[in-house]
């Protein structure tokens, strides 16, 4: 049987053009059945580390087509080699397309294509994907598929983007289950003129202002999908809160800032770790259903511009703990409110936990989690445990020093 593979299904590597990223947009032609597809092709010569070549690292082609599979043939009118999706590392869709009610039809094409794997990440871009690709020039990483791998990996460690959730397989599962909301990574290459508050993290992609000579592309926040269609967005901070509430999303150590209760001018930077699972207790049989959530957070305090001696002063530490707990709880409550009122659904994976309370699939589907969730009373309790205070726990008392 292995011999057979050499007969019909054989194509040598040189004869293939590997598409590392696909972009899907709404077609500009106005034809409802067509979409605009962009293939980003990698130059295989760049995969060798000592490659000395004058060729560009990638090639891009954009055209209108019925779907991304038939597009393979169309692309061959221009691209010299046979198109292959075997090394596809990411699928991008534009926000405009994701919000289209027919979006889901094209997404399901990917299940039929053998070469596209279910764990391919999905990214929603603010602008058209063809523009996004054009403007994405990572300076330190010329191998474009590696760029996506790394960015997605490290961004999700900080919890700003929902990486482990944001792939095709989970899209299908969440959509078909019709109980929770699906989150995809949100990114853009365009700077936004919209400025929110001056706090660190309640930003969306594009809003972080930075200068210098670096890539224009930012990934921050998530796109929220309900029943296969995009219905809204979450900021970086909200995404982080979601990661904390959702036990299936993984995060590394998050760096965040909080109000300093003793000095309003300054903020404290802390390293957040979730060492235990978030405890979610549901009481759904009650006519007034409730969910009680306890989130255990471990904090290492890293900076204290107020120069207050938290390390040695227990009551002050207590106060700090309370203040942080309040602040975090407020963030969570605002997020829950948003999900219940604006989205009318939850992206925390609580639907799967709710399933434990039902004996049969039919019972659960009759309960209709998606419809009942907005009415449920959600109580959040945050338990903060303060760990250490960075490398050097004591800081000098400014007043004493500057006398």
């Amino acid at each position: 049987m292995p011999i057979l593979s050499g007969c019909w299904d054989q194509t040598s590597i040189e004869e293939r053009a590997y598409v590392v990223a696909i972009g899907l947009d709404k077609s500009k032609s106005g034809n409802e059945n067509q979409i605009q597809v962009t293939y980003l092709l990698a130059n295989p010569e760049f995969s060798k580390k000592e490659a000395m070549t004058n060729e560009p690292p990638m090639e891009m082609i954009t055209f209108d087509t019925n779907d991304l599979i038939v597009g393979k043939n169309k692309a061959n009118t221009v691209i010299a080699k046979e198109i292959s999706f075997n090394l596809l590392s990411v699928i991008l869709v534009s926000e405009e397309f994701a919000k289209d009610k027919n979006f889901i039809r094209w997404m399901y094409d990917t299940t039929k294509e053998r070469e596209i794997k279910r764990n391919t990440p999905v990214i929603v871009t603010k602008e058209e994907t063809s523009i996004f690709f054009k403007q994405n020039h990572p300076k330190l990483e010329s191998r474009i598929h590696k760029y996506y791998d790394y960015t997605l990996k490290y961004g999700s460690e900080a919890g700003m983007i929902p990486n482990s959730e944001s792939n095709l397989g989970k899209y299908y599962r969440t959509t078909q289950a019709d109980a929770s909301l699906y989150l995809a990574i949100y990114g853009t290459s365009e700077k936004s003129n919209y400025s929110r508050s001056n706090e660190e993290d309640s930003l969306m992609a594009g809003e972080m202002k930075f200068g210098g000579e670096t890539n224009k592309v930012q990934f921050m926040g998530s796109a929220v999908f309900k029943e296969g269609k995009m219905i809204g967005k979450l900021t970086g901070e909200e995404t982080r809160a979601t990661v904390l509430l959702n036990n299936t999303l993984k995060m590394g150590a998050i760096l965040a800032t909080y109000k300093d209760p003793f000095d309003e001018r300054y903020r404290i930077t802390a390293k957040l770790l979730k060492k235990e699972k978030t405890d979610v207790k549901m009481d759904l049989k009650n006519p007034m259903p409730t969910i009680d959530v306890i989130i255990p957070i471990y904090l290492d305090i890293l900076t204290q511009h107020s120069m207050i001696d938290y390390a040695n002063d227990a009551p002050k530490r207590e106060r700090l703990k309370q203040s942080i707990e309040e602040e975090i709880t407020d963030t969570f409550n605002a997020l829950i409110k948003k999900t219940q009122e604006e989205f009318k659904g939850e992206p925390f994976g609580w639907a799967t936990l709710a399933r434990k309370q039902f004996l049969t699939i039919k019972e659960f589907e009759d309960y209709d989690w998606m419809k009942t969730y907005p009415e449920i009373d959600v109580n959040i309790k945050v338990k903060v445990n303060i760990g250490n205070f960075g490398n050097q726990s004591e800081v000098p008392d400014l007043e004493e020093m500057r006398d």
Binding site: M1, W8, N86, G169, Y172, Q176, A177, T352, R355, K356
Partner: protein, 365 residues
């Protein structure tokens, strides 16, 4: 091989167990799980346990009969207990069932190989290779099939364990809920209908005379039975944990989707690693099936050297299997009906045989 000299071409415990495991166990990797999820929902694993329970009695009776009639295989027993004419009819029905199973299974496996792995190779070619290898094995005889089974069993089990292990690590346990799936009554009904999954155990009775001795046969059956149930249990739980009931319901072949989805460290396309093992166990399975159909045919029409019928049966299987246009749908539907129909045959036959033996007083001799 040392089994050749002292045992004169009879198979021992190892070969028997290997044969059972590869024959029935491979069902975990075709579209059988799909039918399970349709019937049971998230409780597919409960379904298999119930099936095990239901089939316990028929298999127990079978082993008792084999023990009673030492040195005879099921064919002889049926002919002895039911007489020439009814026995012929029964054997004929069993033979038809086997041939039908051959055709539908080989068509489905060809489809698996075609859709999941060799997209562009013509279906006929795949079918021919599959059937040719099976015919070769079948012609050589059951001892040959048994020893081949034993040789590769280790690797097949290893690959299955790796796949399952990764599934459990990367999966979500909560997807198992709601625990009763489609509901209590549905599970019971479904278990009854799907109990034909283990019909193969009945057919193992036909090679009972090829086994070294009866106690080995009985031991082999029970060991095979428990391990098969266990692997089904773990696999069914594993698939749901990885893809959730809603996802796995859409899959035709969950096992193959699984090996494409999981990642082992830096290896991304691990499916190529597991595919050969699955392929070889499929070959063993079809070799055995072809051998069985030839054996039964030989018993029906009093042909002593039935190995020579094998190529003819193989060709027949292939030609009929190629007829339906889209194997996965026509075959699937047909197979489900077929499985539901066989279930009572499988469950009742050993009971009927046993009752007849009791009535004839054979147990008292």
């Amino acid at each position: 091989m040392n089994s050749m000299d002292s045992t004169k071409g009879k198979i021992g415990l190892k070969e028997l167990v290997a044969l059972i495991l590869l024959d029935v166990g491979t069902k975990v990797a075709d579209d059988t799980p799909h039918t399970f999820y349709e019937a049971f929902g998230t409780a597919a694993w409960i379904g298999i346990l119930l099936i095990g329970l239901i089939t316990l009695i028929p298999i127990l009776l079978l082993t008792k009969l084999i023990k009673l009639y030492q040195d005879k295989n099921l064919i002889d027993i049926i002919l002895h207990l039911f007489g020439k004419y009814i026995g012929f009819v029964v054997l004929f029905i069993l033979w038809i069932m086997q041939v039908f199973a051959n055709i539908s299974n080989s068509a489905i496996y060809t489809d698996i190989i075609g859709t999941m792995y060799f997209n562009r190779t013509p279906v006929v070619v795949i079918y021919v290779v599959l059937v040719a290898v099976a015919a070769y094995g079948a012609k050589k005889g059951v001892e040959y099939i048994g020893s081949s089974a034993w040789v590769i069993l280790f690797w097949v089990i290893l690959s299955l364990l790796v796949v399952l292990g990764v599934t459990f690590v990367q999966g979500e346990f909560t997807y198992i809920f709601p625990i009763l799936g489609t509901g209590g009554w549905e599970i019971v009904k479904g278990s009854y209908n799907h109990s034909s999954l283990l019909t193969d155990f009945l057919y193992f009775g036909f090679i009972a005379s090829n086994v070294k001795n009866v106690s080995i046969f009985n031991k082999g059956i029970w060991i095979g039975f428990s391990i098969v149930l266990l692997s089904f249990l773990l696999a069914l739980i594993g698939y749901v944990m990885l893809f959730d009931y809603y996802g796995v319901r859409m899959f035709d072949y969950p096992y193959h989707e699984t090996i494409r989805y999981i990642e082992i460290g830096f290896l991304t396309n691990v499916e190529l690693l597991f595919f050969p093992f699955w392929l070889i166990s499929s070959f063993i399975r079809f070799s055995f099936y072809l051998y069985l159909s030839a054996l039964l045919f030989g018993a029906l029409f009093k042909i002593k050297h039935f190995e020579y019928i094998v190529p003819a049966l193989a060709a027949l299987t292939m030609l009929v299997g190629l007829i339906p246009e889209s194997a996965i749908f026509s075959m699937n539907r047909l197979r489900v009906i077929f499985l539901n129909v066989i279930a009572p045959v499988f469950l009742l036959l050993p009971c009927l045989l046993w009752i007849t033996a009791k009535l004839k007083g054979d147990f008292k001799k």
